[in-house]
Each structure stands twice: as structure tokens, then as C-alpha cells.
């Protein structure tokens, strides 16, 4: 039996990912992606889970993030190199693969630099939907780099956030963020300090990029009832919040074994109590306990979120057609005859000559 095109794997390039996102619409893309994330968080227990496999160097880190639900297998390759922007490169680039567990064949290869920004933002907003006060409409964003507009758009699409208070050590970054959000229905205030940015904000998003311990938020800056969306602290030695804030907050995480190594809670004892976000989404644990509680989503990004994102873009391929075909897999006429395929290629080339 010969199946057609067994050699082909659909591939979503940067260009096609942009076209796909724009064709679906940024807000709808973020909302539908959040729905798929919610679906996978609800069935969290069905997944194989393992902390990402990291290869650290002086300059940064390269990670592989695999997971499987028994039917599909997905993994993401992602790097984090803070000094890259000085050479015109991205701090974070990524690509991912979705495969069929039944036969091990890749079914999709996709760029994930843009897709990771979208899934991180959609996950943040999904968490806030469960953890922030229901009437939260204003958000401070501290760190106005590559992630900031995605966060803003996701919080608007999923939470209705329409007031932004932006702060970055580099004001150019804030101005770029403001410019990119023009016409999206936000009231935007550019602030000169983190202190000013958090004033009156219902939600505080921290999304800075330095690979080091930093104190973006000090204890006195965080008032009662605030939801903190801590996105930037995502590897060992990189945190953004003062420890005292953690001690005053209800802490929600994706996958404790990974977050204890990489998240804000690396500052706390190993057995410090945290709640897994999936438990809140599945309804087995409470989320916010009253309007006065400080809630903290200590986000580091987990493989299942990338899996959901790959699953989502795959669901859009047939209807949009934004993909190329990669000749990635060997498909000899007779499966056991891999060497014969090589010989026939040689014979064919000889014929052409």
C-alpha cells in the first residue's frame, strides 16, 4: 500500500504565520487560542509532563519542551539570549513540531517566535480571567519590549482591559508600544517610573528581559486586590518581584517542578504552597479569595501551552492554506528499501544526463 505524500510535512513560515494571524484577526486569534488553552488546562492530567530540557551557556539558554496527550506529541525549541538584540537578533526565537503518537510522524512544523508571543499573552489573559477581579479594566505593563503589545491585545480581547500604563527603562520602547497599539481602543499613559505605572492599576504585568535577579516591583508598590501577571522571570537566576510580595500573595503556577526552578518562587522554600492554574480552571481549587487578595500568576511558560498553540494553528491550516510543504520524510516505494531510494535517485539523475 502506498499512501500519497508521506514525505510531506506542512510548514508554517514566519511570513505564513503573519498572514494566518492577520487573516483570522489578532483579537479572534488570541480569543480562540485562549479557548484551546483552556480546554487543554482542563485536561491537564492527561498529559505527559516533564520540566524543559535546558542547555545553559554564558550567553543564554537553548531549551526543548516536549509533551504528549497520548494522541499527539509536541515539542518546542526555544532559545533565550538577552544580548541578541544588540546584534539585531531576537532575544527569543522558537519553532515547534506536532506529531502523531501512533506512527511518530511529524504532522506540522511551525515557526514559534510569533506564536510563542501569542500563546504567552493568551495564557496570561486566561489566567487573569480566573484570578483578577472581574471588573479589572486597567493594566500596568512594566517592560515594553517584544511581548508587551501581545499582552495588551490579549488582555483586551479576553478580559476587556482598555486602560494601559506603560513603563520601560527605555522610553523609546514605551513609545513603540503606544504606537503599535494605536487604533486598538486603548487609553494609554506612558509613565516615567514603575511606581507611577502601577498607580491605580488593577493588573500589573511585568515582562522585562534581563537575565538576572532584578526587583521590578517592591513590596510597597502592590496594593490590595491587584493581580500580578509575572511573565519576565522565566529561568534560574531571573526574577522580577521582591520576595515580600510573594509572601503576601496567593500564588498560581503552571507546573510546580519547573516553576520552582525558573519562576519567582525560586526565592521561596521548596515546599511553599502554590496552586496549579489547571486546578482553578478545572474547578477543583479556588482562584481569587475576595476582592482584597493579591493574586500572582508566576508564569514561566509550559510545554502544554505550546502544544495547544500548535494544535490551534494546525486547525486553521486547511481553511486558510497558509503553509508550505516540506519534503522532510523519506518515502521509498518499499518501506524497507531506504538504500534503494538512494540508488533510484542516482539512476534518475543519470537518465537526465
Amino acid at each position: 500500500m502506498v499512501l500519497p505524500n508521506l514525505n510531506i510535512v506542512p510548514f508554517i513560515s514566519i511570513d505564513n504565520m503573519m498572514k494566518l494571524v492577520l487573516n483570522v484577526g489578532i483579537d479572534r486569534f488570541l480569543s480562540e487560542l485562549a479557548d484551546m488553552l483552556e480546554e487543554d488546562f482542563r485536561r491537564w492530567e492527561q498529559f505527559d509532563k516533564t520540566p524543559r530540557i535546558a542547555s545553559h551557556s554564558m550567553e543564554g539558554v537553548i531549551e526543548l519542551m516536549p509533551t504528549s496527550d497520548g494522541q499527539l506529541y509536541g515539542f518546542k525549541y526555544v532559545n533565550g539570549h538577552p544580548k541578541n538584540t544588540k546584534q539585531g537578533r531576537q532575544t527569543v526565537t522558537a519553532f515547534g513540531v506536532l506529531s502523531d503518537v501512533g506512527n511518530g510522524y511529524p504532522m506540522l512544523i511551525s515557526e514559534m517566535t510569533i506564536l510563542t508571543a501569542l500563546r504567552t499573552a493568551a495564557t496570561s489573559a486566561l489566567a487573569a480571567k480566573y484570578l483578577a477581579r472581574k471588573n479589572a479594566r486597567s493594566m500596568a505593563i512594566i517592560g515594553n519590549g517584544a511581548q508587551s503589545e501581545f499582552q495588551a491585545r490579549a488582555f483586551k480581547a479576553i478580559m476587556g482591559v482598555d486602560h494601559l500604563r506603560l513603563y520601560d527603562v527605555d522610553m523609546e520602547a514605551s513609545l513603540k508600544c503606544q504606537r503599535n497599539l494605536q487604533g486598538s481602543g486603548f487609553t494609554i499613559t506612558i509613565c516615567e517610573s514603575a511606581e507611577e505605572a502601577v498607580e491605580g492599576a488593577d493588573i500589573i504585568t511585568t515582562v522585562t528581559a534581563d537575565k538576572q535577579y532584578a526587583t521590578i516591583l517592591t513590596d510597597n508598590m502592590v496594593g490590595p486586590g491587584v493581580h500580578i501577571n509575572a511573565v519576565g522571570g522565566d529561568c534560574p537566576g531571573k526574577t522580577e518581584l521582591h520576595r515580600d510580595i510573594l509572601l503576601r500573595s496567593g500564588i498560581f503556577v503552571e507546573y510546580p517542578p519547573q516553576t520552582r526552578i525558573e519562576g519567582e518562587i525560586q526565592q521561596l522554600p521548596e515546599d511553599y504552597p502554590v496552586t496549579e492554574l489547571w486546578e482553578v480552571i478545572a474547578g477543583s481549587k479556588p482562584g481569587r479569595e475576595g476582592d482584597g487578595q493579591i493574586t500572582l500568576f508566576d508564569s514561566v511558560g509550559f510545554a502544554i501551552e505550546d502544544f495547544s498553540a500548535l494544535r490551534y494553528v494546525r486547525s486553521k491550516l486547511a481553511s486558510t492554506g497558509f503553509f508550505d510543504e516540506l519534503d522532510l520524510l523519506a518515502d521509498p516505494d518499499e518501506p524497507k528499501d531506504l538504500f534503494g531510494m538512494l540508488l533510484r535517485c542516482e539512476a534518475k539523475a543519470a537518465q537526465v544526463l
Copy 2:
């Protein structure tokens, strides 16, 4: 500073890999690949090493195999699904990535179904160069599937083996192997049993594909001085040799923590003495101890071998041109402005309309 083509990653498709191999020449490719493997085995201690990350299912396994030498980072995705051939698919397919540790950017994506067959064969022949008797010229190959011709060609190119004794439970496979090796300078005998195949052979290669404990070789079949190249037993629960053979042999392995889980030595106590192949190649441990010793290369395949193979094909790209350009990485005009890239794509599309 804007660098040109930061979005592009060279990609070697199945078709281009075949053209690359044929352009270089199969024998020269295998020899040069063995040279690069030898170079990397010599500097084995410089590499980050970890057992592969496996995701097992009823039907098979999907694995990620990362490693790094501090300058380059490589990983391979590979599946193993023995029932695949019944559906016209490959038991094993693979692809790999080589990256720059300094900035985390992928530098090469390559098919590795064909490349893995070549690297496995080159590694086997390299090991035999150090472990088999110097005058070894005849080899039994038990299991005449997709790997068999690659093994034969590598042993000829690197060791001068020119007598083959083929056996497979499916004689069609042996006939296919014989056909594919026609005109390559081998004297070939097709045998009706494994016992017949090993008669008088200097080297015995076992390369069967069943995912189970099997006894391809029993103790009485292996005479003094033979080198056994055990390639097929490569995951937990899959072995090919009777335990008594192991007890009579000098055992050489790639990376003990992985081989003890996956190789023939999973049948032996955890502390049973084995020699690492790199130590023999680097000259710090002896290889074969006299013409009467039975040597066994218990091969399961290790990430560094894939790293060498990716490094080798990458060295051939510029001179041969057999690659495509994948638009895989985001390259906004301003590195921190990923969202702006999306907006400009939208503006450009609007202009076209």
C-alpha cells in the same frame, strides 16, 4: 544594525540529502563522516551529555537527543514504530537541528532518516576499525532491512570488508539487499538461517527491528576472535543477543547511562564493566585484547553521533548548494518590535489590495 537574511535557516530536504550524498559519493561520504565522528569521539569529554528524552507509547517511541560542545548545539527528533512498515511508513524517521550556542539561532535543519542510517553505519564501521581483527574481510548481516546496505557499504569503505553473508527471516529482504549492493564489489552469500550466516564470518552485524527481547544470536554461534556489531537492540525491552555471549565478550558502548537502559547490557547487572568507545579512540583504554577475544560493540546510537553528522553535512552545503532556505526566524526591522512586524505585514497586504 540590520544583518541580511537573519530570518533564513538552511534546510536539507530528503531530495537534497540524496543529491548531496550522491554528489559526494556514498563511499567518500561514509569515510569522511567516519573521520568527523572519530574527531568528535576523541573530544567526547567536551560535550554536554544526557540520555535521550523518550516518550513511549503502545505503538513506539518518540525521542529528542540533544548535545552541545559549547560552540554548537544539536538535537535530533527520531521515532521508532515497528508496525509502521505495514502502513507503508518508515519504522524510523528523523530530522535534526544544529544551532549556534552564542545566540541560540538554528543554523541548519536537516532530514535525518537517510542521514541517521549513514551515521549509524559509519559509527559501526569506525568502532570495528578499532575493535575487529585487522584482517577482517567477511561479515554476516542478520536483518536485511533498511539499515543493512548502509552497514555493508560503510564496512567496505572504512574496513575493506568485501564478503557478505546475509540472513533475514524474510528472504525477500535479503534479495533486496543483494540487489542494492550489486556492482559495489561484494561477494554475497544469501543464507537460510542465522547459524549459516555466521559460519566463518569475522564480523557479525545484527540489525533486526522487532521491539521485543529476541535471541538472534545464541552462545554456540559465536566463535573466538569475532567482532559483534549489535545495532538492532536499541530500546528498553529490545535485545538481540543471548546473555551468555555478553559474558564472554569485551563490551564497548557509546554512553553507559543510555546503553544500560537500551542496549544489550540491559540484560546484565548495572555495574557490569564496559569500556566506552571514545576511550579506545582517544587512546586512554585498550580495544581488542588479542586475536581470540570476542569484541562486542553494543550500539544504541548517541546524540554526539548525530551532532557529528549534522556538522559534516553542514560543511558540505556551501560547496554543493543542496539546500533550501526556510523563512523560520522572525526578523523585524527593530529587534524589540515583533508586534510592529505583524502590523507592517498587514499594511503591506492592504497596499496590495
